[in-house]
Symmetry: none
Subunit: 251 residues, 2 copies
Amino acid sequence: MLAEVLTIGDELLTGHTVDSNSAFIASKLVERGYWVRRITTVGDDVEEIKTVIGEILARKPEVLVISGGLGPTHDDVTMLAVAEALGKKLILCEECLEKIKAFYERLYREGYIDDPSLNEGRKKMAYLPEGAEPLENTEGAAPGAFIEHEGVKIFVLPGMPREMKAMLEKEVLPRLGRRKFLQRKFLAEITDESKLAPILREALKKFKVKIHSSPKGFGKYIGLIIFAEDEGELEKTVEYLESRGIKLEEA
Amino acid sequence: MLAEVLTIGDELLTGHTVDSNSAFIASKLVERGYWVRRITTVGDDVEEIKTVIGEILARKPEVLVISGGLGPTHDDVTMLAVAEALGKKLILCEECLEKIKAFYERLYREGYIDDPSLNEGRKKMAYLPEGAEPLENTEGAAPGAFIEHEGVKIFVLPGMPREMKAMLEKEVLPRLGRRKFLQRKFLAEITDESKLAPILREALKKFKVKIHSSPKGFGKYIGLIIFAEDEGELEKTVEYLESRGIKLEEA
């Protein structure tokens, strides 16, 4: 149930913009029962983005949410970088092109822009990695993309918060399933770390839970996150661990 | 010229806290002439922190600023993780211990705490990686640390924004020296960002500058930030953009 978030934009690296997108995305993933392991921010640079996507895929999260760099300008290179990272071509999405056209025609009719024509920058936004499913942008021009790659669900979203939030709610979360996953964090007090592993293995056999453990340094505490679909299974796991001599303190 | 920022804290990964520290740190580094290449956020987990520090050091930035996880609780494991990542021991800093003692005695005298004694958690904050120079925390208990490791200047700062900001200004920036690196922000008056793209691409070819553009909504303004090492290159870029019909207004 691990997830990662990647935000893209030079304005985040210069400090001109505080990255509130990653916290929003993380909170929604956590609500769905995912544990966000890492958040990374890189600039509008094809090579950087490709490199970091490769690194994230190697860690094999279940979900990767990418946000930023889908617009019409020279520095909006995210779709190209995603395609290259996955060894795919960028392919014209005809359905996306129609929507982009309609979007600019509406802005023109409403007097926001002087020219509704599909120039190079606007057309660029209709290209998605081969095999990607387009994600509708109800608040802006650029579509997002959903790609499953070697077991990782990859979602590519715009960086404008209003567009990103709408797409996350309407297009991403419904694709993450309706499984209700519970998660609770504990500090486990134990005197001997090596005793914990066999007890955890037994708990995993007995109950329908997932357990993430990590050392907390400085002495006798281990961080535990227990994931379960069922509150009863989670409770029974806690009781079992305590019956085996592990003192748990909710964290 | 490259720098990286690493922020640490489970509260950032759950989305409970928006990470404004990394933007603040980045903006100060950019002012000093560094280009922040990547910002990473991980949780309060020794193994995660060690892993990511190893990855950052392998990219050989000139500067790495780490923030978060220096407090007295069990999940404040940053110093331990930094020490382990560098293959160093944690060593008691006597000078730091005196300051921590004085800090809690002051809080006690002022009625903020019931017990000024140096318990295990408070004492823990006085341990720094071997060879590290302590950085004074004028706003809190936990000292920071400065370590040069294989050409990388590593600064370890607290996560509380008030403490982090004071330490960055007073202890980090004076150690970075000053480099000439200019950045100017403009509002470009144009009705559509995508018309701007080909003109920007030409400017990037002609002059030694970096240009960041961001839409300001659907009005006629686009935000531009031009970065240059040389004032002349920056001026020539501005003149060129204006000669191509882009009206620039300093922002």
